[in-house]
């Protein structure tokens, strides 16, 4: 094994902690499991930060361009000389950024869970699953070839399934876990076919070779462009199918239905997996193959752009009507990921045109911070109130000062109010959209207003409006230090993350990009956001009749949004009515009557025949002897008549 051991250790530490806690946690390490998980993550996080520093400031830059570095390359399955699947680790700007985000948010969630999950029956199992997830996610972002990313892709899917279904005694959690797994698995089918198409065309699985072959004039690229199927080239098909996988994981319309239900999992898990890390894997995947999208298949990139924009708007509208605070946050996550997607969609490759790419990654970075903060804050509120519903909350600002302040910061950040983190990244995204596609820009602008509105609707409903009284809640207070410290750290980052000169580090072609905040351009989005906040302030700061009247005014549109535009019902109709009746039942009939019938027939025949002859076996020795002698005499007779 060659390579930098420090980097290899980053995913290895969580894996070790998973094995340790998974095997011995429940019996021997009950009390210390949280500490073990947290410490191993702390090690990983420190190593990641060190790696990032090393890469961005020491080793990464060659001639002013950040180069991908291969840390580890190992042949794993060799089918024949030249045809093999490798396992490797590659670091480049986006993967370095991702390992920092993943280890950092995961560390915060580990610390937070020390308080939040305290006294839980399956405490050690919980930490084992968290470690498994962190390992898989790190493996995913460090993958050096497209097949390896698929393996880790499924692993994060499994750990997400395990964690959503953590409270497996609740039927709704079990259903949500299954739904998440099946929907993403269905999308992954597209991903797998996409991988096969791309790697067959490019004749390689390795990312660097694949990107090089499919972006310059090579026979492989020529072959993929000229082969066409149903009007698209095989390259476009491959990329679209890969995007389908990404859309499933990233909850893009219409594969988003699993994400709101995934909120059945413990809240810290929602913060880690369903807000900050796993759900951005789809964005990461598109970013990983971005040169191919941008240079060779702009058509596929347009699809990415429109799907992203549609999801952003669609989710934002639904978020305005939901009453479960975690569901509001789930739709807001979907909306923000839509932002990242369409930012990639409107981006070109290289230099100024690559602004969208950089903006998307920047938003991924800042979003991870403030969305994790929102979820952890929501977790603290739920911990205090013992309910997910807005109805049961209100006036918590004096009872939970730390949560209140950090939640407010996060709301301002996600709404894009300067100088909070979200402002800078959203600004870049809107600039990129404005330059390349006015329609998407319009959608994005409107959505940012909606975002501010629903976030502050949430904020006012939780912390203002009516007064909250509960003996039980007063008794345990805001929460232990282990829950508050992550809130404070993330709160500080939600303020400060926007000031990172991100365009110097992560760009589409590895060169530095100069960006500046254009004051005139910022006026429109900030105005939209402020309008959203003011409307929310007017409607929700104190209890009044206006929201109900407004809901009535919107009539069927409001009802539609409240019921998530009946997408779940459409899925149910397609699966239960169409697929079950037209495919499921006939195949069940064939299976029961023809396949099983054939097997049963042969079994019945055997039974009947043996029933006939089994009486010969009486167990009576002398009867056997009788038959024996009779047979011998018979045989002798036969022989004598043949050989006279």
């Amino acid at each position: 094994m060659t390579g930098d051991f420090k980097i290899i250790l980053i995913p290895l530490l969580p894996l070790l902690s998973f094995l340790l806690l998974g095997l011995f946690g429940r019996k021997y390490l009950r009390e210390s499991s949280g500490l073990i998980g947290t410490l191993s993550l702390l090690g990983s996080a420190l190593l990641s930060v060190f790696t990032a520093y090393n890469y961005f400031f020491v080793t990464g830059k060659v001639n002013g361009i950040y180069q991908p570095l291969v840390v580890l390359q190992q042949t794993w399955l060799e089918f024949s000389p030249g045809v093999s699947i490798d396992m490797g680790m590659m670091i480049d700007p986006i993967s370095v950024m991702m390992i920092v985000i993943v280890t950092f948010v995961s560390l915060m969630v580990h610390v937070y869970s020390l308080g939040y999950m305290k006294g839980e029956e399956r405490f050690a199992t919980y930490y084992a699953f968290l470690s498994l997830f962190t390992f898989s996610m790190l493996g995913l972002v460090l993958s050096s070839n497209i097949f390896q990313i698929y393996i880790f892709w499924e692993l994060v899917g499994v750990s997400s399934y395990l964690l959503i279904g953590f409270y497996f005694d609740r039927p709704s959690a079990v259903a949500a876990a299954k739904k998440a797994f099946i929907v993403t698995r269905f999308a992954d089918l597209g991903f797998l076919i996409g991988i096969l198409v791309l790697s067959f065309g490019a004749e390689t699985l390795d990312f660097r070779t694949l990107i090089e072959r499919l972006t310059t004039a090579t026979p492989q690229l020529h072959g993929m462009i000229t082969t066409s199927f149903l009007g698209f080239s095989s390259l476009t098909w491959g990329l679209l199918l890969v995007f389908a996988g990404g859309a499933g994981k990233s909850a893009m319309f219409p594969l988003h239905i699993w994400l709101p239900d995934a909120m059945e999992g413990p809240t810290p898990v929602s913060a880690l997996i369903h807000a900050a890390t796993m759900v951005v894997a789809g964005v990461y995947l598109v970013a990983r193959l971005f040169p191919v999208f941008a240079i060779s298949a702009p058509g596929a990139l347009h699809v990415v752009g429109y799907v992203g924009a549609l999801s952003a708007l669609f989710a934002a509208v639904i978020a305005c009507t939901q009453t479960d605070i975690k569901r509001v946050l789930a739709y807001s996550t979907m909306s923000q990921i839509g932002y990242m997607m369409f930012a990639l969609g409107v981006s070109g490759y290289g230099g100024e045109h690559g602004l969208g790419y950089m903006a998307s990654m920047f938003h991924l970075f800042t979003h991870a911070m403030f969305k994790a903060l929102l979820f952890l804050g929501a977790g603290a509120v739920i911990h205090y109130v013992h309910s997910n519903e807005m109805e049961d909350m209100g006036g918590l600002r004096s009872k939970m000062p730390v949560t209140h302040l950090t939640f407010l910061i996060a709301c301002l950040a996600i709404s894009g109010i300067p100088p909070f983190a979200g402002f800078f990244s959203k600004e870049e995204i809107l600039t990129a959209a404005f330059e390349h596609n006015k329609l998407i820009y319009g959608i994005a602008l409107f959505t940012s207003g909606l975002t501010a509105f629903y976030m502050f609707r949430l904020y006012f409903n939780i912390f203002w409006q009516k007064d909250f009284h509960s003996e039980l809640s007063d008794h345990h207070g805001e929460g232990p230090w282990s829950m508050l410290v992550p809130l404070i750290i993330l709160g500080a980052l939600a303020v400060g993350a926007g000031f990172v000169p991100f365009s110097h580090f992560v760009t589409s072609d590895g060169k530095e990009l100069e960006t500046s905040v254009n004051i005139v351009f910022s006026v429109a989005p900030v105005l939209f956001a402020l309008t959203g906040i003011l409307i929310a302030l007017r409607l929700y700061k104190s209890e009044n009749e206006t929201p109900a009247r407004l809901a009535n005014g919107f009539g069927s549109f409001y009802q539609g949004a409240l019921h998530k535009f009946y997408i779940d019902e459409v899925y149910l109709f397609i699966t239960k009515k169409l697929i079950f009746n037209l495919v499921g039942r006939p195949s069940a009939w064939i299976d029961k009557n023809i396949v099983d019938g054939g097997v049963n027939l042969s079994a019945d025949l055997t039974e009947d025949t043996s029933g006939l002859i089994r009486n010969w076996q009486s167990g009576n020795l002398q009867q056997y002897a009788m038959w024996f002698f009779a047979a011998i005499i018979g045989l002798v007779m036969v022989f004598m008549s043949v050989w006279k």
């Binding site: 089994r614 009486n615 076996q617 009486s618 167990g619 009576n620 020795l621 002398q622 002897a625 009788m626 002698f629």
Partner: protein, 103 residues
């Protein structure tokens, strides 16, 4: 009267069918074992007779007979061991009681 081959074959055939009759009719396992000995010995007589009357210059029949006697002794030992075990399990050596080995 001279004893011919036919006389001896008659004797051995008679002995053989006495053995068969005993084997098929007796219910006592030990008696059945004795019947088997009769069967074996009728074969022995055949061997000796054929050897003496047809191939007087050879000893093959005699050797076979010796082998058969040895084997019969071994078989008796095994059979009696089995009978003892049957008795321990069924408290009986009546062959009609031992009929569990069937479908």
């Amino acid at each position: 009267m001279e004893v011919t081959l036919n006389h001896i074959l008659f004797l051995s055939t008679a002995l053989f069918f006495i053995g068969v009759y005993g084997f098929l009719t007796r219910r006592n396992v030990i008696t059945m074992l004795m019947a088997i000995e009769l069967l074996l010995n009728s074969v022995n007589i055949n061997f000796i007779a054929f050897n003496k009357y047809l191939y007087a210059d050879k000893l093959d029949g005699v050797f076979f007979t010796l082998f058969l006697i040895a084997i019969a002794a071994a078989e008796a030992a095994v059979a009696i061991a089995i009978i003892i075990n049957i008795y321990r399990n069924y408290k009986s050596i009546d062959v009609d009681d031992v009929d569990t080995l069937k479908w």
